[in-house]
């Protein structure tokens, strides 16, 4: 199939030297995006000049320089606003925002929630390493309570944001999660994000090898990963585990992990994932699952259709123009009360 594609991953690589630390999770994500775009281009019939990568400030925000597409490296936290302007100015563009947990959820929190609320058709890739890397190791809004960092030598005393909860709380229509080292899954999610009309937020659990190594270690550990994460796909049973013998059921008002074939639970009792369900209840619970009580959910958790902001902006202008009495500036200057001297 890939041989039918117009582009190869190589076509999206710029001539700039990639300067992230060796072993940084960002390398994996860059690979996943460059791997996904040929498929996105194939499915959606996009040429390379339609892509724009926009970022704020932080390690991940260097991303646009490494892409051979249009790119804009903005200022700290403001990428959602810049991306909104780009998309509204030209809705035919495929706009991708690259951001980190500090950029998106601390300094840029306001722009982030409003982009999600408006449902502007951009794809936000949120690299979550739970630390400030570029400023060399201060805690972020997603650092776990009690995290010891340079600015919290005795541990943080604040509760972290859970990005999925925030997105759904802001009426988000698309939320997915991946793990940096799982390039195949990240790439698959990128394609889904691109296909979704509206704000698609993809949280990537990403490792900072220097300042917060192994913050997602329990999940990336190859030996036990399959027992600690669940990869969910629309229409499929929520099953996980090395032996595919564990699953999720709804027990009362909560999700519960059960062993299939034990305690009277069969595969029929296991929930089937419905990413298209408008009611955010189950999606919120899936997004909020944390290890060890639950496996951490990966994959497209929520994927709901709704009109987009950029379409609405454009359509309203076109609608008004259709019946406009004022056709040009001379009309404008001469309309209303005037008099002759």
């Amino acid at each position: 199939m890939a041989e039918n594609f117009k582009y190869a991953p190589q076509d999206f690589k710029s001539d700039q030297e990639v300067r992230w630390c060796p072993g940084c999770g960002d390398h994996f994500v860059l690979n996943a995006v460059q791997k996904a775009l040929p498929e996105v281009s194939h499915i959606l019939n996009y040429d390379i000049e339609r892509y724009v990568f926009v970022s704020g400030i932080g390690c991940s925000s260097r991303f646009p320089y490494y892409m051979k597409t249009y790119g804009f490296h903005g200022i700290h936290g403001r990428a959602p606003a810049i991306a909104t302007g780009i998309k509204c100015a030209n809705p035919t563009l495929s706009v991708w925002q690259i951001t980190g947990d500090g950029d998106a959820l601390a300094i840029g929190g306001n722009h982030f929630i409003h982009a999600v609320r408006r449902n502007i058709d951009i794809n936000i890739l949120l690299f979550n390493n739970e630390i400030y890397g570029l400023t060399k190791g201060q805690y972020s809004p997603t650092s776990k309570l009690g995290s010891v960092t340079k600015t919290s030598p005795f541990g943080t005393v604040e509760h972290p944001f859970r990005p999925g909860e925030l997105v759904i709380g802001a009426q988000g229509k698309f939320f997915a999660r991946s793990l940096d080292i799982d390039v195949k899954l990240t790439s698959e999610i990128m394609v889904e994000a691109a296909k979704h009309d509206g704000t698609s937020v993809v949280e990537i659990l990403q490792n900072c090898v220097i300042y917060n190594d192994r913050t997602h270690g329990v999940l990336s550990d190859k030996e036990n990963r399959e027992d600690r994460v669940i990869t969910i796909r629309h229409g499929e049973k929520m099953v996980f585990g090395k032996n595919r013998d564990k699953g999720l059921i709804l027990s009362g008002l909560s999700l519960k992990v059960v062993n299939i074939g034990q305690g009277g639970f069969s595969i029929d009792d296991i929930l089937t994932h419905d990413a298209f369900e408008a009611n955010p209840g189950v999606h919120m619970m899936l997004a909020n699952m944390t290890y060890p009580e639950y496996p951490v959910a990966l994959g497209v958790i929520r994927n709901v259709t709704e009109t987009t902001y950029d379409d609405n902006v454009r359509d309203q202008v076109l609608e008004v123009m259709k019946t406009a009495k004022i056709k040009n500036v001379d009309d404008l200057l001469n309309y209303g009360d005037t008099w002759d001297v």
């Binding site: 249009y70 790119g71 403001r78 302007g85 100015a89 202008v317 123009m321 001469n334 005037t338 001297v341």
Partner: protein, 617 residues
Amino acid sequence: MSEQKLVLEIGEVVVRFSGDSGDGMQLTGTLFSEASALYGNSVSTFPDYPSEIRAPQGTIGGVSGFQVNIGSTKVNTPGDYCDVLVAMNPAALRANAKWVKPGGMIIVDNDTVNEKGLQRAGFKTDNPVEELKLQDFKVIFANISNLTKESLKDTGLDNKSIIRSKNMFALGMVYYIFSRPLHFTEKYFETKFKKKPEIVEANKKVLRDGFNYAANIQAIPNTYHIPAATSIPKGKYRNINGNTAVAWGFIAASEKAKLPLFCGSYPITPATEILIELSKRKDLGVKTLQVEDEIAGICTAIGASFAGNFAVTTTSGPGLSLKSEAMGLAVMTELPLVIVNVQRGGPSTGLPTKTEQSDLFQALYGRNGECPMIVIAASTPSNCFDYAFISSKLTLEHMTPVVLLTDGYIANGTEPWLIPSMKDYPEIKAPIVPEGTQNYQPYARDEKRLARTWAFPGTKGLEHRLGGLEKDFTKGTVSHDPMNHQRMTDIREEKVKRVQEFIPQQEVFGDKEGDLLVVGWGGTYGHLLTSVQKMRENGKSVSLCHFNYINPLPKNVKEIFGRYKKILVCELNMGQFANYLRMNFQEFNYMQFNKVQGLPFTVIELVDKFNKVLEGK
């Protein structure tokens, strides 16, 4: 029948309408101004309103005012002091009595002069005339509220609607005093309330009853006639305020540049009306985004500019502070963008509804790093159109952002405007890169303007990356090289300086040389011009050098300054332009006249100052 009253023919008259914020004084003033303009007078207006939408009724804090100057020759200011004051309650009287000319006429709604009203306005006695020492003024106590009720009692309107019409009764009285025809305002009612004929009739009736009442009472000793102006250029006119003019100037530029107009903004007094007007102009394809904050306002605009729209953002002082970092991004990425700052009293929240010129340094320097920007200041309500157009042309052709400064006074003030024709405005040619260009270099420059070129995302083969990091001089990729940073800083500076070659020479009103050169900039023009005219009528050697181009300054400034014995810089701040001039032309001595009261200059205080300066005091 009343006896024939004395009609005084005069060249200029100032009227001030004042009342509670909810009394409709802005509308009353606007209708009087429009009727006068339609009659053929020259008109200049100044609304003066509180920042509270509905401050406690009857208190000084809630008083809203609207002053208008009408003349049979060109008037350039709304006037310092008024000939007639309308005060709809004791608070309005108390707040505005000091603005009435000695011996002037004051009309007060007597139905509000009661214990409660006087107390709320802070009067200590039950005799406001005595307390405010108005014995030498012609104070007319008219039962405006009750007469309005009487006038409309058979119309079937509810009590609230009836009492709300009392401003039209007062307007009717003023129309009588100034011999204004009623039909302009009657036509306004017909258009405004097209679907509510009963409201049209009620308004017409109360306006006429007010007019007749004034004609019948003996308290009004004389009426005035202000002949239509004859020296005004022929043509088609309309009224315009500065905020609307700015919005239309941008739309005009968008049409001439053949680029869609995009405005990212956040509401802030007194700039909001620009966003409101642009939001209405979807009929002309204007895209407006009211976003989550000031920063998003400018950042959406920068994004839209990158993507190939002509982008603007609108704000006032505190909003400009919030936009500073993004303004630097626009300078660094060398994208076209106009940032409008409608100045108000500062610092911090300051005086949101009052005028000031104290953001000049912020516009010039308020950013991190060496971050030069073109700065332009409009100086009258109607020339906001031209300077918005010029700002747009400069940013689009020179590929660097522009700050356009106006202020609360010219933004809200109105004047008649000889409607221009778009065929008289120049084309705007942005350096857009055509598809098919080989080896595109985003930071390559033209030699004349030093502008880089503009490639729109979506164009095949022009993929490039922009950003806030320093760029390599030739390749446009990220560079931390020391000499490259020096070179790029130099070229950004030089690029703005070169704009001097594309703006007109500075002009002087008055003599080529003389005793005193008055220097001003921006919205103080009308007051400075009127004051200088008055000095010259009295044979004094005074000239005016008023600036619209702030950065860069026109080429010939130094040569002008050298021809006068004294230079007096007048501005509504503590001396920012004077200090800017000191920095640029150190060889001259600059005297200063500064005012920061949230109010425009008055002609009286300016003339007084000029005389003192001439006398060496």
